[in-house]
Structures are given as C-alpha cells and as structure tokens.
C-alpha cells in the first residue's frame, strides 16, 4: 500500500510525469481515480487540502459577491480530501429523464446526452455513495409500505417520489469520500494521491490545444510541476472556473472561454423552508414523509413530492422536490379553511394535521448568474472570484404552479389541502436557503457556442483537458447532484480508458 503524499515534502522543482492528472479530490476526482485504479494509466490526484479542515487552506476559497444574498464563497465548499462530501447531507436521487431534455419553456436547456446514457453508471455510483440497493421510485412505495401508505395523489401532476441516503460503512454519517476511500487510493499502485497540492496554473502548448503542464504549489512555498498526457479538472463548479479563467497566459480570455461561457450559467438549488402548509385530513402522515426511515436492510429513505414529466410539460414548470418538514400550527383562517372545505366535501377532518413543506427547486439557466475573476488575489497569487447571484421571480411563480397542482390533487383525492405561503419576493427570500450545489459554470453542449465541454466532457477546442462534476450540468434538475455527478464521472473514466489506451 502506498501512502497519501504530502506535497509539502516534495523538493521544490519536482517534475511529475503522468498519464493523467486529476485536479481536485472531491467526489468527482476520487470517483474518477477509483474508476481507473488497476488500469494501465498512471494517475496523479492533486488535492489542495489535507485530510482535515484547515482554515488557512479554506480561506483560499473566499471571494466577493453581488446580487441576491448567497452563501459566502468559502462556505458550502470544503478544500480537503473528499471535498463537499465532508459536510453533505447524503441526499441521493437520480435525475429524471426530462431533466436531460431540451424543454422549450426552459431557456438553454438540453443535455447532449440522455438519462439512458448515464443509467449503466448509476449502479456503480450508488455503490460509491453507499446509498444501499437501488430502490428509489421503482420500489419505494412497496418497500416502505410497512410504515404507512403514500398519499393518494392519483391522476395528477405530482407523485410521491423517494430519496435514498448515503451512509458511510461503520458510521452514522453520509459517505465522506476522503475518509472512506483513502485506503483504496493508497492501495492502487497506479494512483499517486498528493495532498496540499494546489494547482496554480494550467499551461498550454504553443498550439493552444494541449495542456502541457500544471504549475502547483503548497502554502509552505514549495513549487512543483506536473506534466500529464491528459488532465481532468474536478475542483467543483466554482473553483474550476477560477483555474480556467486565471490560466490566461496563452488564451487571453482563459482556457475554454473562447465563447465567453466559462463561469456563466452558475446555479444552485434553492431550498427555501416552509413554502407551503399541507393539511392531511385523516391525521398524521406516514412517518416517511417527515423523517428519514431505516428499512430493515439498513437503507435510509424519505418521501418527497415530485412533478411528473407530463405535468412539467403541460404547466411549463421546472423540476422541484417538496418535502414535509415538521408539524405546523394553523392560524384561525387556516382552521376555517379546513373546516369549511372538509364539511363541503363531506370529509371527516376532526383529527386533521398540518405540516410545513420545504422544497428544492431547479432554477432556470441564466447567463448573467455568473462567476468572474476579481482583482483580489489569494495566498498563492491566484485571482479570487466574484459571484453575481440572481434568482428570477419566474422561478418562484413556476414553483407555485406546482404547489397549486399539489393542492388541487389533495382536494381531488379528499386527502387534504394546501396553503401556498410565499407570494412576494420577500416571502421567498426570508425563507431562502441553498443546497450548495454548484452547477452549470462549465456547461456541457455539443455546440461550442453553447457549452464549455462536449458530451464526453472534453473542453471544446482542447485535445486533452476534461472537466468533471456538476459544473458541467447544462440544466440542473432538482435532484441532489452528487449521485448524478459521480455517475457522469464514471462514464468519463470509461471514456478516458478508451482514448488514452
């Protein structure tokens, strides 16, 4: 078993020759390295952080923001082996087929691949995130039937869908890729994992189509070089932008940015709380709606309300996943609404229970929601980033159409009722939280004028530079990205085995 190498121990001036350099040791970087373990390819995995959180390293993430209030750029990301999986909640759900489609009501939508392309990679991705057997919507209702029945929402626009949760073997936490897979990385003779190794520049050859070397440095002042045949940038949807834009000695607008797309279309999944109140006439909802449930085999599941593809098309809404949060108290108007409606429908509602509903929303792609370089520099001299965050009123009104439909379905099935709690921008913003899913900044498209990478995640115009991670998602889905980005990365691993053979 080899060790994780501390780059601070490398002599300055070291040159590492390798087949593949993976920049970033988060879920994408580690999944890719593991997919190539045991292959004939020599792989160097460069992680800026160490095994643990270090404020000095984390500070390299800090940057400026304009626009809508958003999490600071040094929050929501972690600069250590395992990246964001060191603090993720473990929520997993595969993206739906419609998420990949060009939807005429979603500007700039349409992936160059379909969900079918990713499906062969879901089982391996599911195993890596340790979310148990593949149950989700195929068997979620049946496998949770012992705990209660799903709400009858027959024939409508939303249905009960299912999350599964990552759980690290031998632990109660979701799988932290660094901790969980460090031994696998050490065991692989063809993988050289370097910690405290910050890539400071991607150097192109004179033809501008090939990466020739990576400049790397440690915070202790060591400098070294990696000379790879191929490079995969896997630093996350925000940091990838910084390296591409800052590596501008040959291409003045930055690498892959010939069409001014790098850093544009940034997105996250807003997860505002208490956006609606759901009343169940019959009393308490089945427990899987409001809390994670442990199945006998250890799988953890939770129910959510998802729109059908048909409803998304007819109502022209985006993806959303709405989840029961906690019991709620009705005010006097709420009580009169429930009494009046239940009496009119002839429904017994004396035991009715109310709950607050939270959600995760798919934002519409917006080129002006954008990450750019700022004038500030970090400890290694790299320009810091500036985020212009935006969220459109239309994103809210689309979601409320989905809530109206859920309310209609509850009435139609005589199961309950729904109150929409957010009507103004202020209503939304006071309840706003974010998923810290950094999406879209190096979007995938077959057309170089519409995307930074192609369907194989190769940067347009480049011969040996790829990008992994959710930054390549051209539209965003409401599903949490980790399972999906790992599947996409495993596909990249198979592609690299072919092209690098």
């Amino acid at each position: 078993m080899t060790a994780l190498i501390d780059a601070r121990t490398l002599p300055t001036g070291t040159v590492l020759q390798t087949d593949l350099a993976i920049i970033g040791g988060g879920p994408a970087g580690i999944a890719l390295a593991l997919s190539l373990a045991g292959s004939k390819l020599n792989v160097v995995l460069l992680e800026s952080g160490g095994m643990n959180f270090d404020p000095a390293i984390q500070k390299m993430y800090s940057g400026a923001e304009t626009g809508v209030r958003y999490a600071p750029l040094d929050a929501g990301r972690l600069r250590q082996l395992g990246g964001g999986t060191n603090h993720w909640g473990g929520w997993c759900r595969p993206m739906d087929a419609i998420d990949f489609e060009a939807r005429d009501w979603v500007p700039h939508s349409g992936w160059p691949i379909s969900r079918k392309t990713l499906e062969p990679y879901f089982p391996r991705a599911q195993a890596l995130v340790e979310a148990g057997p593949w149950i989700y919507d195929q068997k979620g209702d049946a496998d949770n039937a012992a705990e209660g029945s799903v709400l009858p929402l027959s024939g409508g626009g939303l249905y009960t869908s299912w999350f599964q949760f990552s759980k690290m073997r031998g632990d109660i936490l979701p799988t932290q890729f660094g901790n969980r897979y460090q031994d696998d990385l050490k065991r692989a003779p063809n993988i050289k994992p370097l910690l405290h190794a910050n890539v400071t520049a991607i150097r192109l050859g004179a033809n501008t189509k090939q990466v020739e070397q990576l400049d790397a440095a440690t915070l202790t002042g060591k400098h070294f070089t990696v000379k790879p045949r191929f490079v995969v940038l896997a630093c996350g949807g925000i940091e990838n932008v910084r390296l591409l834009l800052a590596s501008n000695d040959v291409m003045k607008n930055g690498i892959g940015n010939q069409n001014d797309l790098v850093g544009r279309f940034f997105a996250d999944n807003p997860i505002p709380r208490d956006v609606a109140t759901v009343v169940n006439f019959a009393g308490p909802l089945a427990p899987f709606y409001g809390a994670n449930q442990n199945l006998p085999d250890g799988t953890i599941m939770r129910a959510t309300f998802a729109p059908t593809a048909q409803f998304c098309r007819s109502a022209r809404v985006g993806g959303s996943l709405s989840t029961i949060e906690q019991p709620a108290e009705l005010d006097e108007t709420g009580k009169t609404a429930v009494i009046t409606t239940a009496l009119a429908l002839g429904v017994e509602a004396s035991n009715a229970k109310a709950y607050s509903l939270g959600c995760g929303i798919e934002l519409m792609p917006d080129p002006e929601r954008r990450v750019t370089l700022s004038g500030e520099k970090d400890a290694l001299g790299l320009p810091r980033l500036k985020l212009n965050m935006r969220i459109a009123d239309e994103d809210f009104t689309r979601f409320n159409r989905t809530m109206t439909e859920l309310g209609r379905q509850l009435l139609a099935s005589k199961a309950g009722m729904l109150r929409i709690n957010c009507h103004t921008r202020e209503d939304w913003m006071t309840r706003m939280d974010w998923g810290h899913h950094h999406l879209g900044t190096t979007r995938m498209s077959a057309d170089p004028k519409q995307g930074v990478v192609d369907a194989d995640l190769l940067v347009h115009g480049m011969g040996n530079l790829y990008i992994a991670g959710s930054g390549t998602f051209p539209s965003y889905s409401a599903s949490n990205p980790t399972l999906n980005l790992v599947a996409l990365t495993l596909r990249l691993g198979d592609h690299l085995k072919k092209v690098m053979a």
Binding site: T333, A337, I339, T340, A344, T404, R408, L410, M417, I420
Partner: protein, 114 residues
Amino acid sequence: MKRRTVIAGVAAAGTAVAAGLYRFTDLFVKRYPPTPYDDLLVQLVDRRQAARLGTHVAGAPDAAHLAAQLRAALKPGSLGVTAEAEVAAGRTMEVDGWVLPQTIAQLSALASKV
C-alpha cells in the same frame, strides 16, 4: 309525590330545556338571520366559519353579483359534487394562500357579505 308525576315533570322540564337550546342557541342547528341568499348559503354546513374564511377572498364582487354567479353554477344541495367537479377541472382559487374549489371560495365570500 307519585313516581309517575315525578317522571312526567322531569320529562317536561327536559323538553323545555331542549326547546330553549334549539330556539336560542346553535347547539343543535346553526341558525342565522334570513338573507336574500339563503337558497345558496344553506349549502354551507357552518356558515359562520365560512364567513370568516370569506373575508379573505380577494377581489370578490358584491353579494348580488356573487349570488348570481353561484346560482348559475350551483344546483340545490350540490356543493360537494360541484366542488369535486371544479377540482377535477382545475378550477381552484387561492384564499389567503389556501387552494380551494372555486365555489367554496365564492360561497364563503358571499357568507362574509351578509
């Protein structure tokens, strides 16, 4: 006093109390002052609750117009069926955020105006 007399007296007193409760309280049947819209409002099981809800119906027309709309849409004794049909057809309204069948919202608004 004979046992039969005592029983008759208790029964008479009980009848009187029940009659009083019926006449002067809502204990058995909700009683409301007469209105020109009772043919509609009679369909509400609890008019007082509906009236409270109805105060939150935004942009409702005056009672006469509401009644005209409702008489066109609502047959006697059909509130439940009409509401179900409206929900099936997607004819819902928001009242203070609550997604309601249109007729229930309108009938509640009418109740609040009389």
